[in-house]
Symmetry: C2
Subunit: 171 residues, 2 copies
DNA sequence: TGGAATACGAAAACTGTTTTCAATATCGAA
DNA sequence: TTCGATATTGAAAACAGTTTTCGTATTCCA
């Protein structure tokens, strides 16, 4: 099995664990616990997918409308530094963030028609990269692999596209 | 053989071919041939590596100091549109451009110590990606694979780093 | 060669992100 | 508890890379 199924439901226990881990990180660094940061991270961990700053801020504002961009940016940096979150860039000029899913590392397929981003992990692919690096006398710290293309199931794809359009009209 | 050796010398015949191809593209699109565009593309094609806009402008200004950013940006867009050049982003916030090397497609290894960017191509890797896409009912239009890490040959790496530092001090 | 179409360059605008700064909140020590 | 050093916040300004605007200049074909 190669495709990772990001669960539709948020695992509340997992979220609590992440919140605790972040709290620990904050303390370890001698930083302070704040209402805003708590709101931001608990909102973030309850969202699924690859979240842009604007998307996150919009959600956060539903809880506390006074929170601004700066705090969201700053908190996301802390989340990344804590290792709980990764930054992604899929070429649309926006940074996107995702909490680690079940598998530590994964790569992405991005449909240019409907915007769907699916995740996959393949050990052979990973191993092959290691082998190539080795041959090149190179040590890999991290990598990124993105496949850009289109869903072959045009029906589902176009449906998603319609939904996405409707949603963005609403926003 | 997996590593692509980007030749140190510029192949003058190849450059002429590319210049001709661009001229043809310009005509086909009903655009005009200009002194500035000629300067920019002939400068670009004679540079090796992954060139940023600023780097290119600096070189271009040696030939014609009156050429500005806007024209360089515009010409690079045309070069990309013509298919003669590809845009790359290696995560430092700058767009970089490269003329196609001998092989149509290649991927990159980026040393985070010395900045060296090396290129490679591996058919098995490409095939494996296709297979994974297939399994996922996905059609790949293009992909990007970047390995970030460090040269294992620390001597050469550090030497390059020193040289690079010296160079950027000079600039 | 005239002139419509295109391109140029400087500067302004734009976009996503970071920084500044004055006001506010946190939290350990007293 | 209260104090006060230290960290945090939010609005706005600054930033960096890129794109657009706009008045002037150039191209190129009828
Ligand atoms: Mn992901
Ligand atoms: Mn390359
Ligand atoms: Zn799709
Ligand atoms: Zn190196």
């Amino acid at each position: 099995m190669v495709t990772l199924n990001r669960t539709r439901e948020v695992n509340e226990t997992l979220v609590k664990e992440k919140e605790a881990a972040f709290a620990e990180f904050i303390q370890r660094k001698g930083l302070k616990t704040t209402r805003q940061r708590n709101t931001i991270i608990s909102t973030f961990f309850r969202l699924r997918g690859h979240i842009s700053v604007e998307e996150l801020l919009n959600e956060v504002k539903k809880v506390n409308p006074r929170i601004g961009y700066a705090t969201v940016y700053r908190t996301l940096h802390l989340l990344v530094e804590s290792g709980l979150v990764e930054e992604r860039r899929f070429g649309d000029g926006l940074a996107r963030y995702e909490g680690h899913s079940d598998v530590e590392h994964h790569d992405h397929m991005i449909c240019l028609e409907c915007g769907e981003i699916s995740e996959f992990y393949n050990p052979r692919l990973e191993a092959l990269q290691e082998k190539l690096a080795e041959e090149n006398n190179f040590e890999i710290f991290r990598h990124r692999l993105e496949l850009y293309g289109a869903c072959k199931d045009k029906t589902a794809c176009q449906a998603r596209k319609g939904k996405k359009a409707a949603k963005s009209q609403g926003a």
